[in-house]
């Protein structure tokens, strides 16, 4: 029971999400039930009808006057036949619509969780495989209703209906059938779920591991083949494959067992009902047609129960998906909003880092180790260091994408957590190292910086980064940038991101390698334009070294050197 309680707890947030569409779910299940009952009705009534006609026919043949109304049962049979088909079609259509609505809810809900995470939690999750798993997990949960909730419920209803149908005429047979079918139901749901739980929980992880190993094998082909270790690593890939397939085999056999059990259980129930009904017929308490109707009704239940074994054998996969998504929602990394946020003066504030330390989970060494640094209003400083020295971490701290484990970051007299996140990010703008663009138009990408900006403003910032001529040649502001900005060259993407930041008009500007991929002359021209725009703002320019950067054009005088998360030198040119 405690297992069930844990399972329920893990699935509860998702059940609650489903609960918002209660009406649709109920109607979908009702359509499923109508389909099931029409199937039972069709076979049961047909059996009743044939027996009744046969017995009447025998009487007539023996010269005994007998009559049978053939039109009502005949009409009933046609009604059930048509109802079953129509209900099934509507049910499939309606329930798919519901599932797709649930998918939209799930994606939206998950996204709401993700946008609350801090940069640290997100950084670990950049890899595309993680994203694939996230989507796969969400897709797994969207089948919660259609595979795991509605079918067992409808099966229970059908068992109940059948018990009543038989019980009205022969209470003992009804009870026996109900009892046996309930036991079968429990075996097919709880039993299958329990036996398949561990293996189906592992399955997704094992698939992930196999994927990682395979990617390693392809990415490392150069080193593996040079060092002669291809075979060793291929064995490692094969081992993961073996493990995955061992579980798949186990689950497959289990599901096959469940499927075989459906036929066996239905058959034995049918036999028991037939036996009791025959005894009742012999004793004269039951007529012939009803005696035939009962086992046939049991037979028709197979279709409803057949949906259960596969779905419940894989219950662990749904559970694991729910657990992973729950963990994500409960991740420590969420940035906390101040309850009564302080306000910030409209002038450019002083940005100061006071002995900040930052250690990413899983990293061997800290990213920042007691770094103190201050950027006065209007100051323009270059922050130098190799990749991994801690520059990007400082930028993340200043924009509250992460919070430090020790020390504090302040804007004038306010530590960042006392300000609203929105205030901080409106004040401090960051051009991050990766040029992140969205698969949308040029205008939509730019307007991320300033949603209300008019076309004129967009063209103005495009001109500042010299993308205006290019945009005019393409489809203007409607030009699509492709997935992740793939339609653009690296340099164009860089400049577009810079233009977007210009549009946002931050007071403190942090530029992480803004001129990467641009030729020196172009960088110089852009820097000159930035120089004017920077009047009244502060600038922190993040770059590897001073050489090759248009520092003079940008008016950058001071510099600070970082290495291995510490400030190692500082000065002014």
């Amino acid at each position: 029971m405690s297992h069930l309680a844990t399972l329920y707890r893990e699935l509860r947030p998702w059940l609650r999400l489903l609960g918002r569409r209660r009406g649709r779910l109920a109607l979908g299940a009702l359509l499923m039930a109508i389909t099931a009952f029409a199937g039972i009705g069709l076979l049961a009534l047909s059996g009743w009808f044939i027996t009744a006609t046969a017995l009447t026919g025998m009487l007539l043949a023996a010269g005994i006057a007998a009559s049978l109304d053939v039109y009502v049962p005949g009409g009933g049979i046609r009604f059930f036949a048509v109802t079953r088909t129509v209900a099934r079609y509507l049910e499939r259509l309606y329930n798919h619509d519901t599932v797709l609505r649930l998918l939209a809810d799930l994606r939206g809900g998950m996204f709401r969780v993700l946008v609350r995470l801090d940069g640290q939690a997100l950084a670990q999750r950049r890899a595309s495989e993680w994203l694939n798993r996230l989507t796969a997990d969400i897709d797994t949960l969207d089948s919660l209703y259609l595979r795991l909730l509605a079918p067992p419920l409808v099966a229970l209803l059908a068992i109940l209906g059948l018990t009543l149908l038989i019980g009205v005429f022969l209470p003992l047979a009804g009870l026996v059938a109900g009892g046996m079918l309930l036991l079968l139901w429990a075996l097919l749901t709880l039993g299958q779920a329990r036996l398949g739980m561990l293996a189906s929980q592992r399955r997704v992880i094992e698939l992930d591991r196999l994927r990682s190993r395979s990617i390693e094998h392809v990415q490392g082909l150069a080193e593996l083949s040079a060092y002669g270790s291809l075979a060793t690593h291929r064995d490692a890939v094969a081992q993961y494959e073996q493990r995955l397939y061992a579980d798949q085999r186990r689950l497959g056999r289990l599901a096959a067992l469940g499927n075989a059990l459906v036929g066996l259980g239905i058959g034995i129930t049918l036999l028991a009902v037939l036996w009791l009904a025959s005894l009742a017929y012999a004793s004269g308490t039951l007529n012939g047609p009803l005696m035939v109707m009962m086992p046939l009704a049991v037979l028709a239940l197979a279709e409803t129960l057949a949906l259960l074994p596969n779905a419940f054998t894989q219950l662990g996969a749904t559970r694991a998906a729910a657990r992973r998504l729950n963990a994500l929602g409960a991740a420590q990394g969420a940035i906390r909003e101040a309850e009564r946020p302080a306000t910030l003066a409209p002038s450019t504030p002083t940005l100061a880092f006071d002995a900040v330390s930052l250690h990413y989970p899983g990293a061997l060494t800290p990213a920042l180790d007691r770094v103190s640094l201050s950027l006065a209003a209007g100051q323009r400083m270059a922050l130098l260091g190799a990749s991994g020295a801690g520059k990007s971490s400082l930028a993340q701290l200043a924009t509250r994408l992460v919070d430090p484990q020790a020390g504090q970051v302040t804007l004038d007299a306010n530590t960042l957590p006392t300000l609203s996140v929105r205030t901080v990010r409106n004040c401090v703008g960051l051009l991050s190292q990766q040029s992140e663009l969205f698969d949308d138009s040029l205008a939509a990408n730019l307007r991320l910086g300033a949603p209300a900006a008019g076309d004129g403003q967009l063209w103005k910032v495009l001109a500042m980064v010299e993308l205006d001529a290019w945009a005019q040649q393409a489809q203007g502001l409607a030009t699509r940038v492709g997935e992740g900005g793939r339609q653009l060259s690296g340099g164009q993407a860089r400049r577009l991101c810079l233009a977007r930041l210009l549009l946002a008009e931050p007071r403190i500007v942090m530029l992480d390698e803004p001129f990467a991929g641009l030729d020196a002359a172009l960088a110089e021209r852009i820097a000159t334009r930035l120089n004017d725009w920077l009047a009244g703002r502060s600038l922190l320019l993040l770059c590897h070294q001073r050489e090759g950067q248009p520092l003079a054009a940008l008016g950058v005088g001071d510099w600070t050197q970082l290495a291995e998360g510490r400030v190692v030198a500082a000065g002014s040119a």
Binding site: G57, R78, H96, T135, I215, F438, E483
Partner: protein, 555 residues
């Protein structure tokens, strides 16, 4: 693999994969037939019992043998059904294993350079996802394809014997079965194709937004983006419902015929039993034959309904095979006649070599170069001059179109800007190149690469785990780990492609002194670099411009 032949088609490949496991597939089909026969037996016994009680007035005790036989048939049916599924699954598992093996072998034979046009992570996922997508086709669809013909035929023959007019009702549906199949098939395929495009567009939208979350946060646009995600998913729903409405119709037709056939048969049999029909076979109908026909009618359609349920497995497998066959059709290099392997301690000699890539023309050569054992040669020149290609040629990743390449036997130590880091401990990462290496040797190699201090500070030492792709290591640390691999490897030839690009000064200094140590060990070093400090340690500098050798500068 397909060198010179016509390119492999997806269907051919699927057939070729199925061939070695034909016995298992046949076993699945045979078991499926037993299921069908047992089902027929079950229905016969049921009808027999009912007819016995109602028509012949037999007592339950007299019919006990029927109950016994029924239990026997039920057990047989359960076992056969289990066997059918398990055999199908086993065939599918083995086929997928073989497919993955074939693909891996092909990728390895292609080598790192010929794959550079493809995204390696995407390729790795292909090896997993698309091979797994073959599952349903081999496990379920292929056996069911044969059962969908055999079992209805068996039932039709039996019904024919019972009452040929009833069989006509069933068989009237039979010519329509190929029509259903086509209908269902076309529906499923179209659904699959459109759906696939829409799904990938939607996933693309979602992934695009998730990937850019930091940017959305920076611009305070998280709320708006959340609504966008919901709206995109809802738009997808509207689009796909339009397709689904039609696609479900085709299977509804099959359902309809199955349901109507039962209804029509029930009414025909009923009227026949009442004696309302005088036409030839009808007066001979009995409760037994009538009931049996009724019971068999749903079973006549069941295999077809099952097949239509598995139809999307076929579409999925064909889609996956399409992509995988494209990979298998990438031509393999011809056996390289110009490559010679000398003794373990030999140097490198290139004689009139040249390399060209499709679409880019000749990128290297014609070129001659001889490197003595133990020599340290630095390749310099502007980017794009062919330095990397030259290293790849020596390593054997690309072939020379002309001339001769002679290299020492055994493995080559290789290090480039993005070292391979596997998911595992630091020690696992090193043992990749020397599986037998002792902990002491690993410790020594790490110290040689300037990681001694870091390892000493780690509680788990060399057993510290790294995340995937070396998560947890900084760029400089990763590069030093790659360097430790070079130390650990016994290779006499060491090839380094820009080993100090984008690392800090400290790492650069470590790399330089490490390379000096390697050179003193007597290893042959060939490296491409822009860094003056690295150039300074060379015995000889070779300058490349436009793929050809321009001049040499002595030490």
């Amino acid at each position: 693999m397909q060198q010179g032949d016509a390119p492999l088609t997806p269907r051919q490949w699927l057939q070729r994969l199925a061939k070695p496991q034909r016995r298992l597939t046949s076993l699945a089909v045979a078991a499926g037939l037993v299921v069908g026969l047992a089902t027929i037996g079950q229905m016969v016994l049921l009808a027999w019992w009912i007819s016995g009680v109602l028509v012949d007035g037999a007592s339950v005790a007299e019919l006990a043998w029927v109950a016994g036989a029924l239990i026997g048939v039920l057990l047989l049916r359960a076992v056969a059904q289990w066997l059918q599924e398990v055999a199908g699954q086993e065939a599918s598992l083995r086929i997928r294993q073989a497919a993955r093996h074939e693909l891996l072998a092909h990728i390895e034979a292609l080598g790192p350079m010929r794959l550079s046009g493809r995204h390696s992570a995407a390729l790795g996922s292909q090896l997993v996802e698309q091979v797994e997508a073959l599952d349903g086709y081999f496990a379920r669809f292929l056996p069911q394809l044969r059962l969908a013909v055999a079992i209805p035929a068996l039932i039709a023959v039996l019904v024919m014997w019972l009452d040929w007019l009833a069989a006509i009702f069933l068989l009237l549906a039979a010519p329509m079965i190929p029509l259903f199949m086509a209908l269902v098939g076309i529906g499923a395929e179209r659904l699959n194709r459109r759906q696939f495009a829409a799904v990938s567009r939607l996933s693309g939208h979602f992934l695009d937004r998730v990937r850019g979350i930091a940017t959305l946060q920076l611009f305070n646009r998280a709320e708006q983006a959340t609504e966008d995600v919901h709206a995109a998913a809802d738009e997808y729903r509207r689009l796909s419902m339009r397709t689904l409405r039609l696609a479900f119709l085709s299977s509804a037709v099959l359902e309809f015929f199955a349901a109507v056939a039962i209804a029509v048969l029930a009414i025909y049999i009923g009227f026949g039993l009442l004696g309302y029909i005088d036409y030839d076979p009808s007066p001979q109908l009995t409760l037994f034959s009538g009931l049996l026909i009724l019971l068999l009618a749903p079973e006549f359609f069941q295999p077809l309904r099952t097949l239509s349920q598995h139809y999307h497995d076929r579409a999925a497998a064909l889609g996956a095979a399409d992509a995988l066959v494209a990979l298998l059709n990438t031509p393999l290099p011809k056996a390289d006649a110009g490559r010679q392997v000398a003794g373990r301690d030999a140097g490198v000699s290139l004689n009139h070599v040249s390399v060209s890539f499709p679409g880019r023309g000749r990128v290297l050569g014609p070129l001659d170069l001889a490197v003595e054992p133990g020599e340290c040669v630095v390749l310099v020149g502007p980017s794009g001059a062919g330095k990397s290609t030259l290293l790849q040629l020596i390593a054997g990743f690309v072939d020379s179109d002309t001339g001769r390449v002679a290299v020492p036997a055994g493995e080559v130590a290789w290090m480039d800007q993005r070292p391979l880091l596997i998911h595992g401990s630091l020690a696992d990462n090193l043992r990749l190149v020397a599986p037998e290496a002792s902990n002491t040797a690993i410790q020594g190699a790490l110290e040689g690469a300037g990681l001694g201090e870091l390892i000493a500070a780690l509680p788990a030492g060399i057993d510290t785990s790294l995340g995937e792709r070396g998560a947890g290591l900084s760029g400089g640390q990763a590069q030093r780990l790659a360097l430790a691999r070079v130390f650990l490897s016994p290779a006499s030839l060491v090839l380094l492609d820009e080993p100090t690009a984008s690392v800090d000064d400290e790492t650069e200094a470590v790399v330089i002194s490490a390379l000096q140590a390697l050179s003193e060990e007597g290893r042959t070093l060939i490296l491409a670099t822009h860094h003056p400090a690295l150039m300074a340690m060379a015995d000889r500098k070779v300058r490349l411009v436009n793929g050809t050798h321009v001049d040499e500068v002595g030490p």
